[in-house]
Amino acid sequence: MHMPFLSEADQDQLCGIFADQLDRSVRLRLLTQPSSKLYIPGQQLCASCAEAEPFVRELATLSDKLEVVVHNVKEEPGVAEHHGVQELLPAILLERVAHDGAGDTGAPIQGAVRFLGLPAGYEFSTLVADLVDLSTGHVDLSAPAQAELRELAQDVHLQVFVTPT
């Protein structure tokens, strides 16, 4: 058993935030690989993969509007490339669940928010804020900026580097 990541007080607070603020359901799609106690030379180590699945599942217990899909990249070859994350694991992709309740198509989504590496430190608050924004459709930009970005005809890849402390 894993120790909970969140204290009971934090869980209560998050439950309240999610209950008050979540509207549409949001899916957290985790791409991860099983941890191995063996060190295999040349194999990419995944520093936080062992914690990633219990972390995401614990978070999702706090609201029935949070869904979890877990992909093990060792068991599903090509799934990381399919979702465009390659070796950057663990990856948590945030996806708005279709209004009509249609199932998980597994189709790669553009226009995505993705957390690469475990967002358990300072950017945990970013993850919570992004879940709420995605669920409600809230965008924290001025109207002219939103209009300009809606008209973008080229792909834009924003990579925001952060650290846990």
Binding site: L88, L116, V156, Q159
Partner: protein, 80 residues
């Protein structure tokens, strides 16, 4: 922002977990935002600066320039 347009993908990257990627973009301070591997912003920036960087990053594609010819000021190539 990524909600506005399916062309926008926003990654939040734990820099310590991906040292090679962080080194490639010479991440010395956080938050650091890299746009299409060519434009860089350090620190929290006002909306106007972010939009200007996005315009600059996408203008390269519009201008039909070879993206590989665009050199980032921090691109020092592979260390070895």
């Amino acid at each position: 922002m990524a909600q506005l347009n399916r062309r926008i993908t926003a990654d939040v990257i734990e820099a310590n977990e991906f040292p090679e990627l962080s080194q490639r973009f010479n991440v010395m301070g956080v938050p650091k935002t890299v746009i299409n591997a060519t434009q860089e912003l350090v620190g929290a920036q006002p909306e106007a600066r972010l939009l200007a960087a996005i315009r600059a990053a996408t203008a390269r594609i519009v201008g039909q320039e070879d993206p590989s010819a665009a050199t980032s000021p921090t691109d020092k190539g592979h260390p070895t």
